[in-house]
Subunit: 243 residues, 2 copies
């Protein structure tokens, strides 16, 4: 009953919780999130399945914990890349963060599938997951902000029909940035995960071989799209408008 005893128990609880999540992550890789089973986790851990219910009241709560962990992990990877590149210019920071996100995804394909792949049928993520899910996006917003501060942010065009939505997104996400750049950023954010998802999920099999070089180039193109680099001059033989 001493505070020491409470500390010991609390520590044990944390360790068992971590062991459960570790084993669950292992099984994620083998069976997928849809088939994540408390029973199988318990079996592998040498515990009775009913004992797990003291740690996670249901299968879905365990899933939620894994999702938050995964978002936090990829978010931390993005933040670490940003911090390591703090001396570089914004365009280079952008590319390095993109590459860090890709590296994380390739190193953790099943956790990547859990958070950016198909939703798990019958499961809806609770609001607890939102802050962790936002971390990667915040890193990109921060890079854009710094670029604006350095006055090296090019402003892309915006068609009139998108103006209301652009203003709304801007108010929500980054009121201090121009709506043109916020809109481009949201698009680039989604497109980045298209590139990564195609690589992780195998759509690039038999299509792209040198994926690292391909990705680096694509990330640079995304940086151009959000205004972190000037639009390049085309080398084409003709101006692109039809006669």
């Amino acid at each position: 009953m001493s505070s020491t005893a409470r500390g010991v128990r609390a520590r044990a609880r944390i360790e068992v919780t971590a062991a459960i999540k570790d084993e669950a992550r292992r099984q994620l890789a083998e069976e997928g999130a849809a088939k994540l089973s408390l029973r199988a986790v318990a079996r592998e851990l040498g515990m009775a399945s009913s004992a797990l219910y003291r740690y996670f009241p249901s299968r879905d709560e365990l899933l939620t914990a894994l999702i938050i962990d995964a978002y936090d992990s990829i978010g931390a990877a993005a933040e670490a890349a940003r911090d390591a590149a703090s001396g570089s210019d914004p365009a280079r920071r952008w590319t390095l963060v993109c590459e860090a996100v890709r590296v994380w995804a390739l190193a953790h394909p099943h956790e990547y599938a859990l958070i950016y792949g198909s939703p798990v049928p019958g499961y809806t993520a609770p609001d607890d997951t939102v802050p962790a899910a936002a971390r990667v996006g915040h890193v990109f917003i921060g890079i854009m902000r710094a670029a604006q501060g350095d006055a090296c942010l090019d402003r892309p065009e915006l068609p009139p029909g998108l103006r209301p939505e652009a203003d709304r997104m801007t108010a929500d996400l980054a009121p201090d940035l121009p709506p043109e750049n916020v809109t481009a950023l949201v698009a680039a954010w989604a497109e980045l995960f298209g590139l990564i998802g195609f690589e992780v999920f195998g759509q690039f099999n038999r299509v792209v071989e040198d994926r690292k070089a391909f990705f680096r180039h694509a990330a640079d193109r995304l940086a151009r799209g959000v205004g972190l680099m000037p639009p390049q001059q085309g080398e084409g033989a003709t101006p692109a408008r039809r006669a």
Copy 2:
């Protein structure tokens, strides 16, 4: 034993096969591909589960059939959009095909997840799926080809390190197009499915509201990236290079 009887039986077989796939697609929506179960399909169809094995020798064969159907369906939607827009210029054809792919995905989210979402654990698609999977990409290649024929294709830059891979992809996919455009096209192809996937899988919840307008703008930006439109002039206050 007459040829008529054979015809009747063949027709019945086709109809039952179609009914099985229809019911399986229905269940895909409710339980997901990972839990697709021959038994549940049979139950819903009022058949004995063992009877289904006369049509599909295993669960995986049924899954393969559903995957091929889904690729063919989204491919046909892309081709139909291309054909309907045959009078328009390449940039407009690009955008219309992108929108058709998005519309298909939103109308068939679970089939979309089956082909462009997380891989089904324990299942590997056989080579039979490759031709169907390539249809959407071929539509985009065709649009690029036509643009080149009309001499309205801008050629983006390529860094030296990507040259070998660009040449390799070009030889594989479209030897008659410039490697710069082929590389940009492959990137845009992946990015397109990033945009669509984020919408279908819910990543845009609470972020993008007017998704149709947002997508149209993003698709135009992709068209610019592959050279179907000239790069736009930035309106930014300053040139984008850092001092």
